[in-house]
């Protein structure tokens, strides 16, 4: 048995003391737009243990996807990223572009929202899979093909040998996303980033794909960063949740706690805005106003303009404070912070 590059630490030590697979510490990202530097994401910190799923939750334009691209090492060309990104003990933020590229695919797998456009339209599925395997693991053509067929079988694709010869347009939405997952886990990564992996899928298919992701994660002890706008999925699927609003982390905690007893008024607002679970037809409680345009963040507390609890104090920027179960960035949280 060959010692696995990332599970060894976890299997020796108790999970509680295990070194996290990913630690993001005060990650900042700004974009240069027309000679102006626009801060997009401010002081994002979180960590993911091996085998753990952490959700990065927020609405469109809150900076969650761009944060993921920064962790992967493929941010937009006009972006500046600062802060620490520690992967398996090494700070990769300072790595060169080439060194970062080598981590892609081999140590970090990535799953995109729309597999139809995220897979190459005119190369066969097999070509794309074997390219990754040969490039990252140095496999021979034949060995790569065998491994690719195994992978497809593992993600629940029937007749893998035939599918390898086919193209993405020949597959259904669910099958496409399975191929995408096979690609992401093909080189046994320690971290998988999934950007809205089920948003484009039908409800019944979404459930299948979520189950598959969960199986892969536990079987391979993968740390997973799960990017979503859907708090319902978070509660079922992730251990912890990081809630983002307007480029800020506003609340973190165990996903159960965040969904059942949110501390930040924004999280509360998100939960109240969806139609009632019990089928009640009481009027919904929307969050007033609209999501700010990306980069066009309000001063002080960024949620204040839409917040029912705002006070003059909210003109100042709140700091991150610990709560009983996590952290919150708010002057008027729904529960006392722990001093």
């Amino acid at each position: 048995m060959t010692p696995d590059k990332h599970t060894s630490a976890a299997s020796d030590a108790a999970p509680a003391t295990a070194r996290p697979t990913l630690e993001v510490d005060r990650l900042n990202l700004s974009l240069k737009i027309d000679r102006h530097v626009v801060p997009i994401v401010t002081d994002i910190s979180f960590s993911i243990a091996p085998g753990e799923a952490v959700a990065l939750v927020g609405e469109s334009g809150c900076g969650k996807s761009i944060t993921a691209s920064a962790i992967l090492g493929l941010p937009p060309e006009n972006a500046t990223v600062t802060g620490k990104i520690v992967l398996n003990g090494r700070d990769i933020a300072g790595f060169s572009k080439n060194e970062r590229r080598k981590l892609c695919g081999s140590e970090i797998g990535f799953i995109f929202q729309e597999p139809m456009t995220a897979l190459h339209p005119t190369l066969t599925i097999g070509h794309q899979l074997t390219d990754t395997l040969r490039n990252n693991l140095g496999l021979s053509k034949k060995a790569a093909m065998d491994r690719a067929a195994e992978l497809l079988d593992r993600v629940g694709i029937p007749r893998p040998r035939d599918i390898l010869k086919g193209y993405v347009h020949e597959l259904s939405g669910g099958m496409r996303q399975r191929v995408m997952i096979a690609l992401a886990i093909s080189c046994d990564p320690s971290l998988v980033i999934a950007d809205e992996p089920t948003t484009a899928l039908d409800v019944t298919i979404q459930a299948q794909v979520l189950d598959l992701l969960e199986d892969m994660r536990t079987e391979m002890n993968i740390a997973m960063l799960f990017i979503t706008h859907d708090l319902e999925v978070v509660a079922d699927f992730c251990e912890r949740a990081v809630i983002m609003y307007a480029g800020d982390v506003v609340e973190t905690g165990s996903s159960r706690a965040v969904v059942d007893q949110p501390v930040h008024p924004y999280t509360r607002g998100l939960l109240d805005a969806v139609p009632h679970k019990d089928g009640s037809t009481e009027k919904l409680t929307p969050i007033p106003g609209t999501v700010p345009q990306i980069g066009d963040w309000p001063k002080g507390c960024r949620f204040a303009p839409r917040c029912p609890r705002r006070s003059p104090q909210c003109e100042l920027r709140p700091e991150v404070e610990p709560t009983k179960r996590g952290q919150v960035r708010c002057w008027h949280p729904l529960e006392e912070t722990v001093q």
Partner: protein
């Protein structure tokens, strides 16, 4: 795939025959009588009629066409009225010049077009890109004969690197051939290369924004492979369309270039044959061009199907 090629092949047959019918009719409806032209001013009506009968010109037009069609399938395109030689013996030497000219011109156009287009797309919005785009606009706006004259003036008259005109066939040695073909081919290809530059650039820029390119990078593939294989594969599809159009355009544009550089090509041959009302030669020339174009389009269709599997299923 074979079925696809077969289907495409059937579809090109009309593209060969429609121009043939048009040329056949046009020639016969235009004033001027080849028999009269051959025998000169002194000929008697009897002499002319005898020759007309010999040439088959006294038959009704549809009969002449059918006879000619029958000739095509037996590889007998008739005799040239002027040269008094079978057309099938005259055409190859002229056609080979034009084909080589177009082929070399097309190759130069593709090499320059694709390279410049790639360079521009990799340097988006910096001076390199602007320079290339500026050159492409210029290249598209100016006509071939202007380039031809400019090239002759600079490289032949001033620098004396190339002969001013004339033609050496490849059999005379590759260097001698290259010396006479390079400038005409460049003059013929320059506009098309400008077109391809623009197409390559915009197509590449589109493709680089596609999610599957991000996926390829996220897979850890080196940038060389991402651009050279994953992006080029899709970005080249629209360029292939342009190559097809360019080739047909260049076959037509060859006439001017052949005249400027005094190349014994099909274009020049056709112009002269029309002047002499040498029907069989004109028809044979048009048939050759139509065949070449049809083959070219078939080739493009096959390249398409190779590049884009979605096409094969339609």
């Amino acid at each position: 795939m074979l079925r696809y090629i077969g289907k495409r092949f059937l579809l090109i047959l009309p593209t060969i025959f429609v121009p043939l019918i048009l040329v056949f009719l046009l020639l016969r409806l235009s004033p001027g009588d080849p028999a009269g032209m051959m025998l000169g001013d002194q000929a008697t009506v009897d002499q002319i009629n005898a020759l007309r009968q010999e040439l088959g010109l006294d038959q009704p037009i549809w009969m002449q066409f059918l006879l000619w069609l029958k000739g095509i399938f037996t590889l007998n395109l008739g005799d040239s009225i002027f040269f008094r030689k079978p057309v099938i013996e005259i055409i190859p030497s002229y056609a080979s010049v034009t084909l080589l000219l177009t082929l070399v011109g097309l190759t130069l156009a593709i090499i320059f077009g694709v390279t410049f287009g790639l360079i521009a797309s990799m340097n988006r919005n910096n001076p390199v890109d602007r320079g290339v785009v500026g050159w492409a606009v210029l290249g598209i706006s100016l006509p071939e004969f202007w380039f031809a004259l400019l090239l002759v003036f600079v490289f032949s008259v001033t620098l004396r690197w190339f002969p001013v005109a004339g033609y050496n066939p490849p059999s005379a040695g590759m260097i001698a051939f290259a010396a006479t073909i390079f400038l005409p081919a460049l003059a013929l290809g320059i506009r098309q290369s400008a077109l391809m530059t623009r197409m390559m650039r915009s197509s590449m820029l589109d493709v680089l924004n596609e999610p599957y390119i991000t996926t390829a990078r996220a897979q850890g593939l080196p940038e060389k492979k991402v651009i050279g294989e994953y992006a080029m594969r899709t970005a080249s599809i629209p360029v292939v369309t342009v190559v097809g159009l360019s080739a047909s355009y260049m076959l037509g544009g060859a006439v001017t270039i052949e005249i400027i550089f005094a190349l014994p090509g099909l274009g020049r041959m056709l112009v002269e044959a029309v002047g002499r009302r040498d029907y069989p030669v004109v028809e044979g020339g048009v048939l050759t061009i139509a065949l070449v174009l049809a083959m070219l389009n078939l080739l493009i269709d096959i390249i398409y199907a190779y590049l884009d599997p979605r096409i094969r299923y339609q």
